[in-house]
């Protein structure tokens, strides 16, 4: 191992951060600083309470000037958090920003060890490795890559709609891709919104129309993202456009074809009304759908299934000729610089808790079913009725169905308390029924939400604290005959209660979408253990992901209400705009490169690169690496049989001296 220094006189400054008690409470920082003092080239070795703070950074800048330092090592938290901060400080001090090495003694040491002495020994070893390594660091330059100004928004619920409109209003071009035939998402199904009880449609549909009208938005409904290539600023996205068998350009949404369909009545469960009504094979999802274009269900349409139908729909469409049974699935390729994923959630399947009798007793319904019943545009015209047509005299709500339960989902779905209270008030308003709410804790932290809870109490809604044990239809007393009976422990009164009611509403929680893992892989995102998409930092980067240029908004990140979803959507749009308006991204120089004279052109590296950054030069027959595509994963570096591929910041001398530093015992 060569140790002669090629970079002249090496003068290293070492800094260890206490991070308050985070590191200082476990690692003896002063001792580490003292230990490092004796290493070759170390001129300054200090410990400080918060290195990331302004005075901490100033310390580095000052020392560079005063002591003519030319290498800096900081032992603190994860580089993910503050490598950027310290590199900036190094640069501000007048050094190349890559004459710097960071040591993670928080996540890798103080947070995961309890033995103070051993943790301190480990910190010394890690610091020593960095100090030995940094001597070999070369001056490197970041490169700039232009950012494509267009944005892809995936998911046309309220989050996706808001993100798309925010970007479009700022003059950015947006592709909004939605899986269903219309945008609107879950919010389109709601009657009113808590805690203000304003009409959901009145605030959502203008935004939906605005999407349709905005020239900067290209709306692709009934479409899914199939493939994503590239990197921040330069994504190439393939979108699968499913055939709706109706030409979107020609259809004007008159719906005469639906009227004319050979099916005189709706026959198949209507998705929008969660199965509470029936639709025909040709349909429009709901009256305010955007786009106002009908769609044909290929599983149900006689013509598409058998080719033998009178095609009365085509007749009705007449000269317009919008119906096209020959439509095929199409793949469209687009280029964007940023992607906002707003793919939402799915509702918990109440059948997974059999003791609540959903699917067994017809008058046990889910909260979204009741929502459709309350809505004036719903299947009953806004009348809350039971399956037999009667108006319920008594209604019970069961909260936390599939939430806060180790048997199903551990998380709180955050909206069900307020959603149920809203529905409870509407039930009282519409029917005058007695309403009882079974809850574990009422969670009403949003603005105006506690006040809404208060109003619910004053309006005579009964609240019983306790998880419902079961729902039955067998009677113990004459009053219970013919009713559904809820059995629950009333944990405030300390008794087991049986409460007979006409109708039971299960407040089902939120779950990650069924295909969230596939979507995660598509956009190269991470998921938490529950399956929600993982933000880059829970506090500081709530809409960013670990993939640059991919942002998340709304319930795909975790359960949240409409105001929070909108706030995230706006934030994601702003993050994307920050990148677009800067116009370029700085690319880290930690890329692989080929030493041409050593390359034999064996092509071993070509298939290994996950980013297709390596090609074989036709004339020289040597491998070349596109630095813009290279992510610095190092696979080719390790695989190259002749050792001709090397990597900036991971040169052999850097790595070997680092290993030496860890293995040397003081």
């Amino acid at each position: 191992m060569k140790t002669n220094l090629t970079n002249g006189d090496i003068r290293i400054g070492f800094y260890i951060c206490h991070c308050g008690h985070n590191i200082g409470g476990v690692v003896d920082c002063t001792a580490v600083a003292h230990e490092i003092t004796g290493l070759p080239g170390v001129v300054v070795s200090r410990d400080y309470k918060y290195m990331c703070s302004d005075p901490g950074q100033e310390l580095i800048r000052n020392d560079i000037r005063e002591h003519a330092l030319n290498r800096i090592v900081v032992a603190s938290c994860s580089p993910l958090l503050h490598e950027h901060t310290f590199r900036n400080a190094v640069e501000a001090g007048g050094l190349n920003r890559y004459f710097f090495q960071m040591v993670n003694i928080r996540e890798h040491d103080s947070w995961v060890h309890t033995d103070h002495a051993k943790a301190t020994t480990k910190a010394v070893a890690l610091a020593r490795a960095a100090v030995l390594r940094v001597r070999f660091h070369r001056a490197l330059e970041t490169t700039r890559v232009a950012i494509h100004p267009d944005v892809l928004v995936v998911g046309g619920g309220i989050s996706g709609i808001h993100a798309a409109l925010t970007l479009a209003n700022a003059g950015k071009k947006v592709y909004l891709v939605e899986r269903d035939p219309s945008i609107g998402g879950h919010m389109a199904k709601f009657d009113k919104t808590f805690p203000t009880l304003d009409c959901a449609a009145c605030i959502l549909t203008p935004k939906m129309s605005a999407v349709r009208a905005n020239k900067n938005i290209k709306l692709w409904t009934y479409s899914e993202v199939a493939k994503v290539d590239g990197y921040v600023g330069n994504y190439t996205v393939t979108v699968r456009r499913k055939p709706r068998y109706v030409n979107e350009e020609l259809c004007i949404g008159c719906q005469e074809c639906i009227e004319a369909c050979v099916f005189k009545e709706g026959k198949y469960p209507d998705e929008f009304n969660v199965g509470l009504s029936k639709r025909k094979p040709i349909y429009i999802p709901f009256p305010q759908a955007v786009p106002q274009v009908v769609v044909i269900d290929p599983e149900r349409c006689l013509q598409l299934k058998s080719g033998r139908c009178k095609k009365t729909c085509v007749e009705a469409c007449a000269d317009r000729q919008a119906i096209d049974f020959t439509q095929k699935e199409e793949m469209a390729e687009i280029k964007v610089g940023n992607i906002i994923v707003a793919t939402g959630f799915k509702l918990f399947d109440a059948k997974r808790i059999p003791q609540y009798g959903y699917g067994l007793y017809p008058n046990v319904v889910t909260s979204i079913e009741l929502e459709r019943l309350v809505t004036s545009s719903g299947p009953t015209g806004g009348e809350i009725i039971m399956r037999d047509g009667r108006t319920p005299q008594s209604v019970a709500f069961v909260l936390c169905v599939g939430s806060r339960d180790f048997r199903t989902n551990r998380w709180c779905s955050r909206t069900c308390c307020m959603h149920s209270m809203k529905l409870a008030q509407l039930v009282r308003e519409h029917t005058g029924a007695d309403v009882t709410v079974f809850y574990l804790d009422i969670r009403a932290p949003g603005k105006g939400c506690e006040e809404f809870y208060d109003k619910s109490l004053k309006d005579g809604i009964q609240f019983v604290r306790g998880r419902v044990a079961e729902v039955t239809d067998w009677a113990l007393t004459p009053e219970e005959e013919g009713k559904l009976v809820i059995r629950a422990e009333d944990t405030l009164a300390g008794v087991v209660r049986r409460i007979p009611v006409d109708m039971i509403v299960l407040a089902v929680g939120m779950e990650p979408q069924a295909d969230s893992q596939a979507v995660r892989r598509l956009f190269n995102m991470s998921c938490g253990s529950e399956g929600w998409f993982l933000e880059k930092h829970p506090k500081l980067a709530p809409v960013s992901t670990f993939t640059d240029g991919v942002f998340i908004a709304g319930c795909c990140q975790g359960p949240k209400d409409i105001p929070d979803s909108i706030a995230q959507a706006g934030a994601a749009a702003a993050e994307a705009m920050a990148l677009i308006d800067r116009g370029y991204i700085e690319q880290e120089p930690n890329t692989a490169y080929v030493v041409e004279e050593d390359c034999s052109g064996c092509k071993s590296c070509l298939p290994l690169c996950p980013y297709t950054a390596i090609t074989l030069d036709g004339t020289t027959q040597k491998a070349t690496i596109n630095a813009a595509l290279c992510k610095g994963c190092g696979t080719c570096v390790a695989a190259c049989p002749s050792g001709s591929i090397r990597q900036h910041l991971f040169e052999d001398d850097e790595i070997f001296s680092e290993i030496e530093g860890v293995l040397t015992h003081a």
Binding site: G357, L360, T472, D473, W474
Partner: protein, 290 residues
């Protein structure tokens, strides 16, 4: 197929009709049940609540004898026996203290028990080992038109739901449907029958019994099928008191094996059906063949 068989006291006494129907039905299906030699009381639920260790010793003696036969599984039809024997297995596995006491006691009697032998219910054997297809082949007199409420009771699914779902068991539902019967939806299928409370706290116990019967009648059942001798007794024996207190709930409760026997064409007189207080009506006439 050959199994070690632990009848328990009920099947030799109050629940005699269970054994009278179980044995010929199993024979018809080619299942051999070999009764244990010199078996003793299973310990039952009452003993368990007085002294768990002694109850386990009592049960473990039966398990040790069963293991000595070399059979793969031990079959026991009574739900109380089924529960106590399974519970003992679990206790011996989980508690070193109880295991030690039991081993010492068994050694004193020249016995040992490894803890491996599965304790199974005939319903489990019939549906999972024999199979519904084989059972269907033996049906000569389908129970067409007979509306049956399947009643499992608590002990075969709680706390050890080994062969069926704890909330909504369906093995007997499927078995009865295989016999041609119409299975009535009966969400009370695992509710308490009153247990021994019918004797000790009749007001509480009989009310539970009454609800089961009343709800079966309300749902249009002709007969309740049960798999437990105590359930059968409770649902069958107290009709005079129930009628006095709440009005008549005239529905018979029979063992599922009795219905199997009928469907297999075994003579009614040999299935113990006349031991019932509330007699089952003759089977509805089969629809004329087309």
């Amino acid at each position: 197929m050959k199994y070690a068989y632990f009848p328990g006291c009920s099947l030799k006494g109050l629940g005699r009709a269970y054994e009278e129907s179980l044995l010929p039905v199993m024979e018809k299906l080619g299942v051999e049940l070999v009764e244990l030699n010199d078996w003793n009381c299973c310990g039952a639920t009452a003993y368990m609540s007085v002294d768990e260790t002694k109850a386990c010793i009592l049960a473990a003696r039966n398990l040790a004898i069963a293991e000595k036969t070399g059979s793969r599984d031990l079959v026991t039809p009574c739900s109380a026996c089924y529960l106590v024997l399974n519970k003992t297995k679990h206790y011996l596995k989980d508690s070193p203290e109880i295991r030690g006491s039991v081993q010492r006691a068994l050694e004193g009697a020249g016995l040992r028990y490894s803890g491996e032998m599965p304790v199974r219910h005939p319903l489990d054997i019939l549906v999972h080992d024999v199979g519904l297809d084989v059972i269907r082949e033996k049906v000569v007199r389908p129970l067409t038109g007979l509306k049956v409420a399947p009643y499992y009771g608590c002990q075969v699914v709680r706390p050890y739901a080994t062969f069926d779902d704890a909330w909504n068991p369906t093995t007997m539902d499927r078995l009865l449907a295989t016999l041609g019967a119409e299975v009535v939806p009966y969400p009370l299928k695992t509710k308490c029958c009153g247990g021994s409370l019918t004797g000790t706290l009749p007001d509480t116990g009989l009310r539970l019994t009454y609800i089961l019967l009343k709800e079966a009648v309300r749902r249009g059942a002709d007969v309740i099928a049960t798999i437990c001798p105590l359930c059968q007794f409770n649902l069958d024996a107290y009709h005079d008191q129930l009628t006095r207190q709440w009005g008549p709930v005239p529905i018979p409760t029979v063992y599922f094996t009795q219905l199997m026997g009928l469907a297999f064409g075994l003579p009614e007189s040999q299935l113990g059906l006349r031991r019932n207080f509330v007699r089952m009506k003759p089977l509805p006439a089969l629809p004329a063949r087309a």
